[in-house]
């Protein structure tokens, strides 16, 4: 059931069960993969989720134990403290031509074009955002530009089994690696999760979460040794400790 050969019509029938969290793991992965590319099925899922929420409203509310409130807020505070890092400083913009030169080592022209479009398009997209978004977008664009400009920068394509480029990793010697994606928005309640699979055969390490859509440039949370494979999976919102679906795109850092 989990093969990529699933036709749209087959996957469509999985949507109601998916909305009820009743799919087995293999079908769940197949459904997620299909939903990431099919707007019609995403709409069907949104509707089914809304109806499922009505079932939730049929249950009488129960006051949670009072201590739970503080536990939830404390966990949120802890999480923020862990994830907060100093904002990267934006380097001065260079003339556009330099990007093309810097991208020379890129293996796939498609990746280079994606990167250029994203990095150069970033500011225009930013104009429609509010101030907080703008700062975040600038930081992301700046991270991509910095990585591209760092000495010995190279670009590695993260590809689907059908060889289409889902993302590119920009590796600079100095900067933390940056992942640039061209993914559609992740399905509701889900995110794309980026994994590093080290050559030593240890468990995959989570190195980033992407919502898709506007979150197209992310700085990965660690440097990546040679031989690492980058893998992208679809995971429930908030990410998973380990991949729960089959990677839909991978790229080897050689």
């Amino acid at each position: 059931m989990s093969d990529r050969g699933h036709a749209h019509d087959d996957l469509r029938t999985l949507v109601p069960l998916h909305a009820l969290d009743a799919l087995d793991a293999a079908d769940s992965a197949a459904a997620e993969e299909h939903l990431s590319t099919c707007a019609e099925c995403r709409r069907a899922l949104d509707e089914a989720l809304e109806t499922a929420a009505a079932l939730a409203f049929s249950v009488p509310p129960v006051a949670p134990p009072p201590a739970l409130r503080e536990r939830v807020l404390e966990a949120a505070r802890t999480e923020r403290a862990r994830s907060e890092a100093p904002a990267p400083r934006a380097p001065a913009m260079r003339p556009r031509r330099s990007f093309r030169a810097l991208l020379a080592p890129a293996r796939a022209l498609a990746v280079a074009m994606t990167l250029l479009a994203l990095v150069l398009g970033g500011i225009a997209i930013s104009a429609r955002r509010d101030a907080a978004d703008l700062r975040a977008a600038r930081a992301r664009d700046a991270a991509a530009i910095a990585a591209l400009q760092s000495p010995g920068a190279r670009v590695v394509a993260v590809q689907t089994p059908g060889r289409s480029v889902a993302a590119a990793v920009v590796l600079g010697r100095a900067a933390r690696p940056v992942l640039v994606t061209e993914l559609s928005k992740a399905p509701p309640l889900h995110v794309y999760q980026v994994w590093a699979i080290l050559a030593d055969g240890s468990k995959p390490i989570s190195i980033g979460l992407i919502g898709g859509g506007r979150d197209q440039v992310v700085r990965l949370s660690r440097t990546l040794p040679a031989g690492t494979t980058i893998a992208l999976t679809v995971e429930p919102a908030g990410g998973s400790p380990q991949p729960t679906t089959k990677p839909f795109a991978t790229g080897g850092l050689g």
Partner: protein, 189 residues
């Protein structure tokens, strides 16, 4: 005062890291979330875990929440449901005790809340559920509240997976129609 204390406004503030907004969402939806989790996991400690994980997922994911696609309450309760089902399945993977066979309850009729609006909404859902065919109601209750997966459902109701899929589809579609026009006549699906 908050500029926008609608659910959507609160989610936007949560996306900007506003802890007070998260607290407001919790105060508003915590009881519905805990009631749902308790109904699925049937254990107060596990239900607390499910609620905590769901609100943390809101905290992490608010930035990516698309208000055009779902109401914030729909999103939150879907998260609570997802986490609860996860916990139930994890609990199940340990060896079961003989007295632990999960029997689906009927959709609860007791009302422990004084919230009149919510109570009217609940009545409406109960009325809609009552108009589903018994097999449709059964598949929704087993899947949504029982946490049964499709293969468990097939085994439990003694039908092939294909039937489980089509019945679930029909049940949700009909429930949706009934909720959209509660008083009208709704054709069988």
């Amino acid at each position: 005062m908050r500029s926008d204390d609608s659910d959507a406004g609160l989610v936007e503030q949560v996306a900007r890291g506003d802890e007070a907004a998260l607290a407001s969402l919790y105060d508003r939806h915590g009881p519905a979330a805990y009631g749902l989790a308790l109904r699925i996991v049937r254990d107060p400690a596990l239900a607390e875990d499910a609620v905590q994980e769901a609100f943390l997922a809101v905290w992490r994911g608010a930035e990516r929440f698309e208000r055009a696609r779902a109401k914030p309450s729909t999103w939150l309760l879907s998260l609570v449901h997802h986490k609860s089902v996860d916990l139930v399945r994890r609990e199940q993977s340990r060896p079961p005790r003989a007295d632990e066979e999960r029997a689906p309850e009927r959709v609860a009729e007791t009302d422990v809340s004084g919230d009149v609006l919510r109570s009217a909404e609940r009545d409406e859902v109960h009325r809609a559920l009552a108009r589903l065919t018994p097999p449709q109601r059964q598949v929704l209750e087993l899947a949504y509240f029982g946490g049964f997966s499709q293969s468990e459902l097939a085994e439990r109701i003694g039908e092939p997976i294909g039937t489980v899929k089509s019945r679930t589809h029909a049940a949700l579609a009909r429930l949706r129609q009934l909720l959209a026009s509660p008083e009208g006549t709704v054709s069988e699906v």
